[in-house]
């Protein structure tokens, strides 16, 4: 089953200078894809489109059952809230909430805990265990290292078993060892939850962790 399907997508911030022009890009269910490319080639823009934050009306942008190219903002927000987990490069966490509250935050915006668990807090505890942050659950996030913070962000993205995880260079702030640890953890949990990961990075050394590697340059026809 295809969870992300882009066809003839064009996107430009300024008129007549498209930054993205993609003929076709697909991600299958239960798949992990590594999308790489140098800075400024439109990686974040592509993630913005897939997440439904940015909107294009050209071409087809099928995310799960919804075509984002002609869906309203409310529909796109709803799909993102329910089915898409997003991890930023850094500063993923709401500073005034504890680790636990940060992980459970998606529950506020329409995502429910996955059926395997009886309630939200049970799933939060499970995810924190799985990502090795259970000892910090009640702590404020400011007490955590950057690596730990990124794991909290991953736990939050995984909460409620979404269908898709979008990760925008989540390891760029980490040192080399923590990088592969983080990716391994993320992929393990993702696999057991049967969801697709689109991992974006400019660091090719991470590519080997993933099933598929795609160069954005090779699929983007827009002139850089």
């Amino acid at each position: 089953m295809t969870v992300i399907h882009l066809k003839d997508i064009e996107y430009s911030y300024k008129a007549n200078t498209p930054i993205l022009d993609i003929e076709e890009f697909k991600i299958e269910a239960d798949d992990s894809t590594f999308l790489f490319g140098p800075s400024g080639c439109g990686k974040s823009t592509l993630l913005g489109l897939i997440a439904g934050i940015l909107k294009t009306s050209k071409g087809e942008l099928q995310i799960l059952d919804t075509n984002f190219a002609n869906a309203t903002a409310i529909e796109r927000d709803r799909v993102r809230a329910k089915y898409i987990g997003y991890i930023f490069q850094a500063f993923n966490l709401v500073p005034y909430l504890s680790v636990e509250e940060n992980v459970a935050l998606p529950a506020m915006f329409g995502r429910t805990h996955s059926l395997k668990f009886s309630d939200d807090s049970e799933e939060v505890r499970y995810l924190c265990d799985a990502l090795g942050i259970s000892q910090f659950m009640a702590n404020p996030v400011s007490e955590l290292s950057i690596g730990q913070q990124q794991r909290v962000a991953a736990a939050r993205a995984l909460f409620g078993s979404p269908k898709i995880i979008l990760a925008d260079e989540p390891t760029s702030a980490l040192d080399t060892d923590s990088r592969s640890d983080f990716i391994k953890l993320l992929l393990d949990v993702a696999k057991s939850a049967q969801l697709s990961i689109l991992f974006v990075s400019h660091d090719l050394s991470l590519a080997s962790h993933f099933c598929h590697q795609v160069s954005l340059r090779s699929i983007n026809r827009a002139r850089q």
Partner: protein, 461 residues
């Protein structure tokens, strides 16, 4: 967790800024409501000073000055009229009651008013409220001393405490001859009214008369004693033009002396008629059977042949006087309006800064799936929360402040700052504050969401 707890946690996280913003809102609310309270209290206190008195009559004088000395006890009557005139008008067919009053004496720094005991039934304040004795009562209609609440409070007087009146009334309360031979005792204390009534001592007209007829005798004796000791026994027939007036007797106020001499002469002429009816009074209050006849009677009194009199309708003169004072009132309104504007701008700035430091947070919430509506709700909710906290803080501040300063204001200006419900103007201001707090919270939300739409979720640092 819901949006409200999220908003509260966010506010708690920014305790200092939140508190400071709320505090600045509180201050401007307290200031505005305080100025408004002062303004309306001033007006109420002024307008409530006299009620259900249809006419005030004094000897020929200006209408404003008659009102000022009779009701507010500012200034003094230039001439007295005779009590018999008041009693004559009390028999007039249109008149229901007449209450003569006599001014000129003082107790400490408070004015003393001579009245009859029935005065307290007829004189009303604040659209018909009775004067109420909070303690004591008048037992002897010819000898009583009733004190206003402010007098009791300031001088810490209780029922039965002695009161020695001074002849003449001065701000510092001494320097005048004291009626020491005629001590009175506090027989009743009036309830606080927020009007000039609170700041006066009311004694019976008879007591006043007794004291004054005595003073003539004693002062006469004093002025004569040094050179004409052998004539002392003869003081009942004291002459107006004393050829042996000693040079060191000028410690007495000249007009005062003249008044005494005049009165004394009068007394001597009709010595056997030394009764109430030949007593000088400052004026009298008139209550009519029917209010509609006021204008008619006023004209009649103003044209009274036997004695030059002035009658005024207090409500009319009060209105005129208040109009002239409106400049001050308008200035206060202007200050209040300025305070309101400054308050709103201050709140706007701090809420705006508070909200615009949060683009990162907004991006996170958007990524999780929060729609623009939730972001709006969060930011405006927080702004609203701060504003509401600020408003309640301001009201609390004002109440506490009033508790602290209102005794001082009552003592100094006789103004009671009542804790009344907010006026329409105040409600409008509070609504305006709330409205602007919502806008102040919404604008950064709009900017943040627009920004996210333009550049995706990557916020630059």
């Amino acid at each position: 967790m819901n949006l409200f707890t999220l908003a509260s946690k966010s506010l708690l996280h920014r305790k200092f800024v939140t508190l400071m913003t709320a505090l600045s809102i509180s201050l401007s609310v307290a200031l505005l409501l305080g100025v408004e309270r002062l303004r309306t209290s001033g007006k109420d206190s002024f307008g409530g000073a006299i009620s259900q008195v249809d006419l005030i009559v004094g000897s020929r004088t200006g209408s404003v000055s008659l009102l000022l000395f009779s009701v507010f006890r500012i200034g003094s009557p230039s001439q007295n009229l005779d009590l018999s005139t008041a009693d004559k008008f009390s028999k007039h067919e249109a008149v229901n009651w007449v209450e003569p009053f006599s001014l000129g004496d003082g107790f400490q720094s408070f004015p003393v008013v001579g009245v009859r005991s029935t005065f307290f039934q007829h004189f009303k304040i604040q659209s018909g409220k009775d004067l109420i004795f909070s303690q004591g009562t008048i037992e002897q209609p010819t000898k009583f001393a009733v004190i206003g609440s402010n007098v009791a409070e300031t001088l810490k007087l209780k029922l039965g405490d002695p009161i020695v009146l001074a002849h003449g009334h001065s701000e510092d309360g001494d320097g005048f001859e004291k009626h020491e031979a005629h001590p009175l005792a506090v027989s009743a204390i009036l309830d606080s009214t927020g009007t000039p009534v609170d700041r006066a001592v009311w004694v019976s007209l008879d007591s006043i008369e007794q004291m004054h007829s005595d003073i003539e005798i004693t002062t006469d004796r004093a002025s004569l004693s040094q050179t004409e000791k052998d004539k002392i026994s003869n003081d009942d027939t004291h002459e107006k033009e004393n050829p042996h007036e000693p040079e060191d007797s000028d410690n007495e106020d000249e007009a005062h002396e003249h008044e005494h001499e005049h009165k004394h002469e009068h007394n001597a002429d009709s010595a056997d008629e030394l009764t109430e009816t030949s007593q000088p009074v400052s004026g009298f209050f008139v209550g009519l059977k029917e209010r509609a006849t006021a204008l008619h009677l006023m004209r009649e009194i103003n044209e009274y042949k036997d004695e030059p009199l002035t009658a005024i309708m207090p409500a009319v003169v009060m209105h005129e006087l208040w109009r002239t004072l409106a400049v001050g009132e308008n200035a206060m309104s202007l200050v209040a309006a300025m305070v309101a504007v400054v308050g709103i701008i201050g709140m706007w700035v701090s809420l705006h800064i508070l909200a615009s430091t949060r683009s990162r947070e907004i991006a996170i919430l958007r990524a999780i799936g929060a729609n623009p509506r939730s972001i709006f709700a969060l930011l405006t909710g927080e702004a609203l929360l701060i504003c509401v906290i600020g408003i309640f803080g301001g009201i609390a501040m004002l109440q506490i402040g009033l508790q602290v300063i209102s005794p001082l204001i009552v003592r100094k200006y006789g103004l009671t700052l009542q804790l009344t419900l907010p006026t329409t103007y105040e409600y409008l201001y509070l609504l305006g504050l709330i409205f602007f707090s919502i806008v102040a919270g919404m604008l950064p939300a709009i900017i943040a969401i627009r920004g996210a739409l333009k550049s995706g979720l990557t916020t630059k640092f």
